[in-house]
Symmetry: C4
Subunit: 239 residues, 4 copies
C-alpha cells in the first residue's frame, strides 16, 4: 500500500465535497457524477469521495488514492469504480489539478453525433481548443461503457490529450482544470454552451463561434474571475 | 373475493409510496402516474395506491389486488381505473416485480411518430433491447385511450413482450423491472434518454447509440448500482 | 350600475383566487394572466380579480362584473383591461363557467405559424376539436394587441366559437370549461400538449395524434377525474 | 476625481440591488450579469454594484461612477470591468435611465447566427424596432470579448443606436429603458421572446410576428403596466 501524501486541510476537503454538491445544484450532476482533485502537496496522490450520490457528499467522505487508484486508507469505504478515469488523467496531465465527470444530457447528444462542440460564448471559451470524443469501442469493443480499468482510463486520457474537455460517447463528459474552481466552472459552462449550440444550430446557417485565438484570450478572463462565481456557487450549497 | 397474500412489512409499503413521490420529484409523474409492486410473498397479488395524485401518496394509501385487479380489502378505497395495465403485466411477466406508468411529455413524442427510441447512454442501456409502441386502436378502434379493462391490459402486455419499456401512443409509457428501485430507475432514465435523443436527432447524421450487446452489458451495472441512486431519491422525498 | 348577482360563498372566491396561483405554480401564468368564473347563481354576472399579478391574488381581490364588464361594486379597485375577453365569451357561450387567459410561450409559437395545434395525448383530448387562431389584425388592423373593448372581445369569442381553446396571435391563449377546475385543467394541458407537439414535429413524419372521436371520448374521462388533479394543485398553492 | 452627483435615497439603492436579484430569480442572470441606473438627480453619474455575483448584491454594494466609469468614492470596492458598457450607453443615450447586461443562452444563439430576433408577442413588443448585433471583431479584431474599455463601450453604443435591445456576438445582450423597471422588463421578455422564436421557427413557414407599428403601440401598454410585474418580481426577491 502506498504512503499518504500527507494531511490535507479540512477546508480543502470541504471544498472538494462542496464541488460535488455545486455540480448537482447547477444541473451538471444528477444522482451520479464525481469530481476529484490532486493532493495539494503530493502530486502522485489524489482526493475523491467514496462511492456516494454527489448531493450527499461531505468532507468526511473524501478518500485519498495513489495514481494506480488504490485507496491509501480505505477504512471500509469503497471508491467509485470510475476512479480510473481520474487517476490516469492525473498521471498523463501534470497541469491538471482537478477533474469533473458527468452524464449531462445536452452534452451527451454531441458525443453521439458527428457535430463537434464549439465555444458559443466567452464563458465557454475553453471549448475553442477543440472537444475530442472518446469512443470506448475503438480500443475495447463491446463493453459496459464504464471506465473501470487503468487501460480504459489511459485510453481516455490519450483522447483528451491537452484539451480541457472531452466527451465520452453514450456516456458523458470530463472537464479538467488547473484548480478545483476552474474544473467546476468548465463543467458548468460546457453544459451551458451545449444548450446554446443546440439552439444556434437549429437556427441554421454558419455559427459565429469563438475561434481558437479568441477562446484563448477569453479563457484568461474566466480563470482570473472564477472566484466570483465559485463564492456564489459554494454559498448556495452551504446553506 | 380472493384471500390476501399475507401481511406486508410497513417499510415495503413506505417504499412503494415513496416511489410515487420520487417519480414526481424526478419529473416523471405530474398530477397523474402510478407505480405498483408484486406482493413480496404471494406472486398472484400486487400492491398499488388507491386513486390519488402521486405526490400525495403515503403507505396508508396502498391497497392489495389479485391479478384480476379486484381489491382484496378495499375498505371504501377506490383503485386507479388503469390498474388493469398493472395486473395483466404481472400476469404475463413472472420476472417483473414492479411497474411504473407515466405520461411524460418527452417520451410521448416518440409514441406519436415513427422514430424508435434508442439507448442514448449507459443509464438508459435497457432501451437498447428495443422500445415497442402500443397503439390501442389496433385492437380496440376508437376509445378513450384508458387501459381500463383486462383485455386492454393484456393487449398492452403482449406488445411489451419481454422488454423493459413500452410506449403507449398518445398516452405515455410503462417501465418494468425485477425490483421496485429498478423499475423507478428505468422510468427516470427513459425520460432522460428521450431528452437526449430529441437533441441528438436535431444535430442530424447517424447516432452512435448503444447497440443491443453494449446495452445488455451496461444494464448489469445499472442494476448493481441502483441502490446508490435509490437512496438519494428516497432521501429527497422523505424530507 | 347593474345590481349584484347576489352573495358568493367565501370558498368559491378562494377557489377562484387559488386558480390564479395554481396557473402560476404550474407554469402557465407568469407575472400576468387572468382567470374568471361565471357567478354561481346569476349567469349575467362574472367574478374576476382586480388587476394584480396572479401569484398575489387572494379571495379579497375578487370583483364582480356584469357582462358589459362594468364592475358592480368597485370600491376603488381596478379590473384588468382585458376583462372584455372574459365578458364577451361568457355572453356568447352559455355553456362556459370559467375562462383562463395566458401568455404561455410554447403555445404562442403555434399562434405565430400555420401549424395547427393537435391533441398529443389523452390529457389534452379537448384540443382534438380543433384550435382556432384569433388574429386581431383581421378586424382591427394595427393595434396594441390588447383585447380592451367589447368589440375585440366579441371578435375573439366569434373565432373561439364552440371550441374549448383558442390561440391569440402574438399574444397567448384562452381556455374555457364547464367548471373552474376544467378550465384550469385545459389551460395546463394545452401548454403540455404544445411542448409535446414541438418535440414530436421535430422527429418528422406523420403524427398519430388523437382524432376528433378519440378526443371526445377521452375528454369525458378528463372531466370526470379532474378533481384528483385539482385537489393536488390547490394543496400546493395553499401551503 | 469627479464630484458625487449627490445623495441617493436608500429605497433607490435597494431597488437597483433588487433588480440584480430579480434578474437572477427570473432566469436572465446566472452567476454573472449587471444592471445599472443613471443617478436620479445628476445625469452625468450612474449607479452600479461593485463586482459581485448578482444574486448576492445588496444596497450597500452600489457604487457611483462618472461617465468615464471612474468610481466617485470607491472605498476599496472594485467595479465590474464591463462598467464601460454602461457608461458609454449612458453617454450616448440621454433617454436611457437603466441598463441590464446578461449572458442568457437563448438570446446568445441569435447573436451567433444570421437570423434576426423579432417580437414574438406583446410583452416583447420593443423588439419590433429591430435587434442589432454587436460583433466586437468588427472594430477590435481578436479580443477576450470583454467590453473593458471606453472605446469598446462606445462601439457597442453605436451599434445599439436608438434601439432598446442589442445582442453581443458570442457574449450576451444589453437591454435599456427609460426607467429601472422597464429595463428589467425588457431583459426578461427578450429572453422569453427568444424562447418562443426558437420554437416558432422550428415549426417552419412564415412567422406572424409583431411589425414595427404594432410593436410601438403594444410597448406603450408594457411601459404603462410595468409596475404590476415589478411589484411581483421585487416581492419574490425581498422574501
Amino acid at each position: 500500500m502506498s504512503a499518504s501524501g500527507g494531511p490535507v486541510e479540512r477546508a480543502t476537503l470541504e471544498d472538494l465535497a462542496a464541488a460535488s454538491r455545486i455540480l448537482v445544484d447547477q444541473g451538471v450532476f444528477d444522482a451520479a457524477g464525481h469530481v476529484s482533485m490532486r493532493h495539494p502537496t503530493h502530486p502522485e496522490r489524489f482526493l475523491m469521495s467514496r462511492s456516494l450520490a454527489p448531493e450527499m457528499i461531505t468532507a468526511d467522505d473524501i478518500m485519498e488514492f495513489d495514481l494506480d487508484c488504490e485507496a491509501i486508507d480505505p477504512r471500509g469505504r469503497n471508491g467509485f469504480i470510475e476512479r480510473y478515469l481520474h487517476g490516469e488523467i492525473f498521471r498523463a496531465r501534470p497541469d491538471v489539478a482537478a477533474i469533473a465527470h458527468s452524464h449531462s444530457p445536452s452534452v451527451i447528444a454531441f458525443g453521439l453525433s458527428n457535430t463537434p462542440m464549439r465555444a458559443m460564448y466567452h464563458n465557454a471559451a475553453f471549448l475553442a481548443a477543440g472537444v475530442p470524443v472518446f469512443d470506448i469501442r475503438d480500443k475495447f469493443g463491446k463493453t459496459d461503457i464504464v471506465v473501470s480499468t487503468k487501460e480504459k482510463g489511459a485510453a481516455l486520457a490519450q483522447v483528451l490529450a491537452d484539451k480541457p474537455v472531452a466527451l465520452l460517447r453514450a456516456h458523458g463528459m470530463v472537464a479538467v482544470g488547473p484548480s478545483l474552481p476552474v474544473a467546476v466552472f468548465r463543467a458548468i459552462f460546457t453544459v451551458a454552451s451545449a444548450h446554446i449550440q443546440h439552439q444556434a444550430l437549429a437556427l441554421g446557417g454558419p455559427l459565429a463561434a469563438l475561434d481558437a485565438e479568441e477562446g484563448a484570450l477569453a479563457d484568461v478572463v474566466n480563470v482570473q474571475t472564477v472566484g466570483r462565481a465559485w463564492d456564489l456557487w459554494k454559498r448556495r450549497v452551504m446553506k
